[in-house]
Symmetry: C2
Subunit: 151 residues, 2 copies
DNA sequence: ATTCAATTGCAATATTATTGCATTTAAAAT
DNA sequence: ATTTTAAATGCAATAATATTGCAATTGAAT
C-alpha cells in the first residue's frame, strides 16, 4: 500500500530540493505516490497528455537526480519510475531492494523490506550497488487466474 | 575469457536450432563469442554496418527465442546481448547469474559461476526467475585508474 | 510591483525498434 | 545437377522513445 501523502508533503518535498512548486511537478508526484507499483513512462505520458512530453522527461530526470524517485527497467526495457522510500540523497541512491516484474499485468513492484543477501564478487570487481530483479506472477494476477479457473 | 569456438561449432549450433547457416548469423555469433562481455545493440550495429539493422534485430530475436543468447539491459536501458553459457532451452532461459555493469567502460559482464542466494518473496508472489545486477568498477578499469594515479 | 532565474512548451532532430513486401538464398526435393 | 520452396535478407515506411536549442512563461526573491 502506498503511503498517503497530501499536497503539502509534496510542496515540502520540492522545497527541500530547491525545485519550484509547479503544477506539472505536483501532478507527477501525486500520481506516482498514489500507486503501489512503479509508473511506466508511456503510462505517465498518456495520463498526463496535456503536459509536454519533454517536460515529463525533464521532471523525471530532475526527480531522479535529487533522489526523489528511482528508475527501473522492466523485462521489456521500458523505463518505470517509483518514489524513493528510503533516504536517497542527491546523486546517491539507496534503492537496493527487489524489483518484481509481473509477467501478466506488467506491473513493477518495489519490495522495499526485502533485504538482499550479501554476495561476494570475483577478484578485481568493486561494487557500488546491487539490484535484484524477479519476474513471475503478482498476488492480484494470481487471484484473477484462480477465479477464472474456477468458472 | 570467452570460450574459443570455431566455425563448425557455430554451424552446428544453427543446425541444432533449425536455423539456416547464413553469413550474417555466423558473423554475429563469432563476434559475440569472441568477447568476454556482452555486446550492445549499438556496438553490434556499428561493427556490422554492412548488415541491415532490421536483419540484426531479427537475428538477435531469433537467437534469443532459441536460447542461444540472452538480453541484458544496462544501467542506461541499452540492450546488451551475451551467449547463453548454460543450457538454455527454446523460450526457457536459465541465465540466473550476476550481471555486472562497469560504470567506467560501460561493459556488462556475465558472472556465470556466481550463484544467487535464495530469496523468499512476500506472500502471494510466485516467481519464475531472478536476475541480480551490480554496478561498480571492473578489474580492467580498476587497474587503469591505479596506473593513472601513479603518474 | 519589479526582476530574474528556473521551468515549460514547441520545433527539430536523434536513437531505437517494428512492420510489410519484394528479392535473394540455403536447403530440400526431384 | 536442377528445380522447388520456405526461410532469411534488404529496403522503405513508420512507430516509439529520447535529446537539444530557444523563445515564452512563471515561481519566488527583491
Ligand atoms: Mn524500487
Ligand atoms: Mn548474462
Ligand atoms: Zn500482475
Ligand atoms: Zn570497466
Amino acid at each position: 500500500m502506498a503511503q498517503t501523502r497530501n499536497k503539502f508533503d509534496f510542496e515540502d518535498l520540492l522545497d527541500k530540493h530547491h525545485l519550484k512548486k509547479t503544477s506539472p511537478r505536483l501532478r507527477v508526484l501525486s500520481m506516482m505516490a498514489s500507486k503501489s507499483t512503479a509508473t511506466s513512462q508511456p503510462d505517465l505520458e498518456s495520463v498526463m497528455n496535456d503536459i509536454d512530453r519533454v517536460t515529463l522527461y525533464r521532471i523525471l530526470n530532475a526527480f531522479e537526480e535529487k533522489g526523489i524517485i528511482h528508475k527501473v527497467f522492466d523485462l521489456n526495457g521500458t523505463a518505470n519510475y517509483a518514489m524513493c522510500s528510503s533516504n536517497c540523497e542527491e546523486h546517491h541512491h539507496h534503492d537496493e531492494h527487489l524489483h518484481f516484474n509481473c509477467t501478466m499485468c506488467k506491473n513493477v513492484y518495489c519490495l522495499d523490506d526485502l533485504h538482499l543477501p550479501p554476495v561476494t564478487l570475483p577478484e578485481g570487481f568493486t561494487t557500488q550497488g546491487f539490484t535484484l530483479y524477479a519476474n513471475g506472477t503478482c498476488p492480484k494476477c494470481t487471484k484473477k487466474a484462480a477465479a477464472t479457473a474456477k468458472v
